[in-house]
Symmetry: C2
Subunit: 393 residues, 2 copies
């Protein structure tokens, strides 16, 4: 069976490597070997084992009837969308690791795949090597999913871990992460939570069967977290982590991306460094958690190849995915309740506040009782100087 | 679509409850509702919502062409085997939560299912609500699985957690577990590791594609673990847990069930109480871990119902499972290497030993360098009085 890879960057070259190194075991699982016939990229890769397969026109792939499986690892919405669509319409199954494409165009591309009796898969778009998409779609099918809470961004989890373990400052940790390749030159999408927000939008869409617009999700990054917050967190026996959450509320869902204070008994508490993990609560299953490498060349490529194997085993048989283009109205996040950790110069308007002594001058750190986002906002306006508010998980 | 449940004990009644409570969401996923038509049990259940469905002859189920889906939650190998086989031969798909049946007859029943173009599934036989079977069979398909290490027995994990957290003695913890329903009246299968050994045999069989006889797996329970071992473990920053392990060794695998000393950085270290978790290492994926309720009525029933949904969606279409009846020769466990924690009255024959001071009189606790099981056995014979040997994980 012949495959093509569009985009020969980190993930794309990882996919070629996984298919090469594990060729025999994959052939056994599929029933025949899978070989890469073309690699689409405008760059040249002299000396690369796959260099002879490079093409720079997507139509070479689209028009070759021998190619049945296509991998999209270019990134970005355009022209990835047009290239994926053209391949689906040409009767080829496509898998992508591209969360921007899936968050923006997932329902549309699933529809095109269905119309052409092929498959559009996207396991690697959330959680890297963690098979969370397939777990939700094919394993937890006896349950009503009541909550998903994910550490789905390795960059910010690495940074928060470093700040927690070494007491370092945000700016130093960011520079360190950039020098180690764990953060991009422009880290905005990661540290502002936009990456995590796309991922929880995708997970909520496949659970709800309708499209969640990530722009509807209240999203707060980690840029305001400082070493004093970390000190307070340690005093409380908690860790600050950037979480992407979805909670079922009646017939719809409430989503949020924000730093949260996790208690030590939470399954996500020990998840440190660049690792990712997704906590899922089902109405029958109870608590479960799935942990693995959230990024990195080979773990992500492994998830892509898992899709390639599934697509090869389901050639010309569309696997139904319940994700309609119809937009899902999320529930009003101001109704959500939380306990909050607050650093401010006044505390008296929170009669039930629990003071946290962490030896920081000219302010009081305290934890509120359970309040709705709306109540909290009203109280905050009366607070005077507020230095920080972080939610309890 | 009509289903039947054979065995209306804890899990069987849980399956009926999941199908009842989540009827609408399951109907949406399958395309039509799934209703229980018969429940096979010799007992009576007056007042139970399903009491009217009780039958006591398996042939009522076998001979009813309307029943397409059968759940086996009777336990034990016989007559479960005969009942499952008769249903498969009558063209019905069957799922079981019965690890004894799967460990003994898995390959055979898969073959019967294939011959009749139906499915035999067994997600709930390992890890309760953790979908580890489906993860290995349909998610991690791009990888060579190099290691599986599982906490797959909730009873022993609860007991080790209690001993670690409260410094309690083995016998007291066992009585407590029995009074809370976490251990059976006859706890042998759990505390001697036999339950865990069947489970790692099943997982290794589906990874290898051949049958692992659990009786070939060196199995050591937790009955010899005492509160002084726990004290040494704490001194080393480790926890003692009963692990079921499989490691790829060339073309075959090495399996073992035993108590191990887990370091704090291992993903399984925080898995406490009745929870289960399975660590899987792939050659491309790297480390991953899957965590959830390993037992209990509803979590286990949730896994069974996941299979029911899959079987309903694949009516009359056998899903290929690579598990042949042919016996797999495991590799020689005496070649396996480990570091060992030893309590003995001599230490001098281990020149690299690291002494662990835990204030226990008349003995020395120490950790060896990396040794094969064979080397360790030879040295142990020279040791004089040996009080305890526990492997490092």
């Amino acid at each position: 069976m012949k495959a093509a890879i569009m985009g020969y960057g980190t993930i794309g070259s990882g996919v070629a490597e996984v298919l090469r190194v594990n060729r025999d075991v994959i052939a056994k699982r599929v029933g025949e070997p899978i070989d890469v016939k073309y690699i689409l990229d405008l760059r040249e890769f002299p000396g690369d084992p796959e260099a002879g397969k490079l093409v720079n026109d997507v139509n070479v792939i689209v028009n070759d009837p021998e190619v049945k499986l296509v991998v999209e690892t270019m990134g970005g919405v355009h022209p990835a969308y047009e290239f994926v669509r053209a391949n689906l319409e040409a009767g080829k199954s496509v898998t992508t690791s591209n969360k921007a494409l899936v968050a923006d165009m997932g329902a549309e591309l699933i529809k095109v795949a269905r119309e052409n009796q092929v498959n559009f898969m996207f396991e690697a778009s959330v959680g890297g090597g963690i098979p969370i998409i397939r777990i939700l779609q094919t394993c937890l099918t006896g349950d009503v999913v009541e909550e998903i809470t994910g550490i789905v961004n390795g960059t910010t989890n690495y940074m928060m871990t470093e700040m927690t373990e070494n007491g370092s400052d945000f700016d130093d940790v960011l520079k360190d992460a950039q020098s180690k390749g764990f953060a991009e030159k422009d880290p905005t999408a990661d540290i502002e939570g936009y990456d995590a927000s796309r991922k929880i939008a995708i997970l909520t869409s496949i659970v709800a069967g309708q499209t969640v617009d990530y722009q509807d999700i209240p999203t707060e990054g980690i840029t305001h977290i400082d070493s004093q917050d970390i000190r307070y967190a340690s005093k409380m026996g908690r860790k600050i982590k950037l979480l992407a959450r979805m909670v079922k509320t009646g017939d719809t869902y409430c989503c949020r991306v924000a730093p949260y204070l996790l208690p030590s008994e939470h399954p996500l508490y020990p998840v440190d460094g660049v690792f990712n993990a997704v906590f899922v609560k089902g109405n029958m299953l109870g608590d479960s958690m799935y942990y693995g490498s959230g990024a990195g060349k080979l773990p992500t490529a492994s998830a892509v190849v898992g899709d390639v194997v599934a697509m090869a085993k389901h050639e010309k048989r569309h696997i139904f995915v319940d994700w309609k283009d119809e937009k899902l109205e999320l529930s009003d996040p101001s109704e959500q309740t939380n306990r909050y950790f607050v650093r401010a110069n006044k505390v008296h308007i929170f009669p039930d506040a629990k003071i946290i002594p962490a030896g920081v001058d000219n302010e009081t750190g305290f934890v509120t009782s359970l309040l709705s986002e709306k109540e909290m906002k009203e109280k905050t306006e009366l607070l005077g100087k507020v230095f920080k508010i972080i939610r309890f998980a």
